[in-house]
């Protein structure tokens, strides 16, 4: 029977939650790296025993950890992320130029085919790649170098490159997203990039339809249809049917279209999940009701999923990398909250149960489906 392994990054360590395919009983391992901020952990699709983890601390900086045995043991690998050339400046919060400075790794995206190749999205926003299992990192400098970099600005959480989508049908094509610059695409393996933000509108920048400056919170795709992208923006849930060339809004009947997380059902490319959050100043669910919203029509029509989720006095947040799906026949959906709960649904969202209640604030959730 298949197994699932849920990799959870929190403010104070990492946890690994394991279950068989029924997803009813869970083993909890952790905290790994106790006391450290674990922004993201992700396993290699090519070798599920290979897991990369981003470990950081305000005192001690950034580390990258690697496991070659499914998270049982870990070893620190390379933690040097040198910007290529003279880093230059981006915009600071007040619009003044600010030097590019490395702060942390937000997201690790292992290659779809090579366990030793992994991408890192960092703050201040840049994309790095390692081809030696994380021992060394090189910037894919065409992204920052394409011209708009001096106009990028940090969102409230920092100027982070938080989303990396690898196109399974075209190894030369990568999508990334940055808060608050927007989404970008390369079609040549990272040598050149273009902003893909046409159709986005953001009232918090001088030109609401500017080429860059949009606070994209997360982007997602279904691997069978990589030119269809979904986006949770600062406000607005968006969809592109042409690899980001243009976007249209699919917020539809959502109670609020602010939020962070968005994901796609493993087997239904038009089934989406979001967790609406009240507003940019009130980072909790509307009415104190934790509701995942599911669309089975690729957007616009949304249904609340509430069974098993708290429907009163709930004031947690669900962060951008804190939702994931498994690959089992009955698709499992998982998300973590800043209140330390990790909820699982073994029936595509129809009902939910907490795997754990009381972890530190959850920063990220990823799932591995094991044979």
């Amino acid at each position: 029977m298949s197994e699932v392994r849920v990799l959870v990054g929190t403010r104070k360590g990492a946890f690994i939650l394991s279950s068989d395919g029924r997803r009813e009983k869970w083993d909890v391992s952790g905290p790994h790296f106790a006391g450290w901020e674990m922004y993201h952990l992700k396993g290699s699709p090519a070798d599920p025993n290979r897991i990369y983890a981003s470990q950081s601390s305000g005192w001690f900086g950034q580390l990258i950890q690697r496991s070659d045995d499914g998270g049982k043991t870990w070893n620190p690998v390379g933690n040097k992320f040198p910007y290529e050339g003279v880093p230059g400046t981006h915009q600071w919060y007040d619009g003044t130029p600010h030097p590019w400075e490395f702060k942390r790794v937000w997201h690790l995206e292992p290659s779809l085919t090579d366990p030793d190749t992994v991408y890192a999205g960092i703050e201040d926003a840049a994309l790095f790649r390692s081809s030696d299992g994380g021992a060394s990192w090189q910037e894919i400098s065409g992204l920052r170098g394409h011209g708009s970099g001096p106009r990028w600005q940090p969102g409230a959480g920092g100027m982070c490159l938080h989303s990396i989508l690898l196109d399974p049908g075209d190894p030369q094509r990568i999508f990334i997203a940055i808060s608050a610059a927007g989404a970008f695409r390369t079609d040549d393996g990272g040598a050149t990039w273009k902003p893909i933000n046409q159709g986005l509108r953001s009232q918090y920048i001088p030109d609401p339809a500017a080429e860059v400056g949009h606070c994209v919170h997360h982007i997602a795709m279904h691997p069978s249809r990589p030119s269809v992208l979904f986006m949770q923006k600062h406000w607005d849930v968006m969809r592109s049917d042409n690899a980001g060339e243009s976007w249209h809004e699919i917020s539809g009947n959502l109670p609020t279209d602010f939020g962070f997380a968005i994901d796609v059902h493993a087997h239904e490319p038009d089934t989406l999940y979001v967790v609406p959050i009240k507003s940019d100043s009130e980072h909790f669910p509307p009415e104190g009701k934790l509701r995942v919203y599911r669309s089975r029509s690729g957007g616009n029509e949304w249904e609340p999923l509430t069974k098993g989720l708290p429907q009163s006095n709930c004031y947690v947040n669900v962060l951008r990398d804190a939702m994931a799906v498994d690959q089992l026949d009955q698709c499992g959906v998982y998300f973590g909250t800043t209140g330390g709960q990790v909820y699982a649904s073994a029936n595509a969202g129809d009902s939910w149960t907490p795997i754990v209640h009381d972890l530190p604030a959850v920063l990220s959730v990823e799932v591995q489906t094991l044979p």
Partner: protein, 117 residues
């Protein structure tokens, strides 16, 4: 520089080829480096913050970047260097450390700032 990565380092003394410096790391870095107690570092040449940290990072490469920034080589802002009841954090990293540190009589302490969290 030579170092001792085995056994009890808490009272390792210097040898005749160079000074033996005792270094006390914060708990998280001891865990990362898989050491217990103090680290003993033998330094050839002047005993300075730079030479001590160079020796430490050579012996424990996983600590590179955790005490000094990779690019600037500056002390990370939430860390301090104490020794002999003095704060050495703002001294030149190339200034000689106190004799008591250089001879191993007193440890050099790497301290995480009290900054919540």
């Amino acid at each position: 520089m030579t170092g001792d990565r085995s056994g009890d380092r808490s009272r390792t003394t210097g040898d005749k080829t160079g000074a033996a410096v005792r270094l006390e790391l914060p708990a998280h870095l001891r865990t990362l480096a898989q050491v217990e107690g103090e680290v003993c570092l033998r330094i050839d040449g002047p005993v300075t913050l730079t030479s001590v940290l160079n020796a430490l990072e050579q012996l424990y490469p996983m600590l590179q970047g955790t005490i000094r920034d990779h690019a600037t080589r500056q002390r990370r802002p939430f860390l301090r260097f104490f020794a002999c009841e003095e704060d050495l954090s703002h001294d030149s990293p190339d200034a000689p450390l106190p004799d008591a540190v250089a001879t191993g009589k007193e440890p050099l302490l790497v301290i995480g700032a009290i900054a919540g969290g």
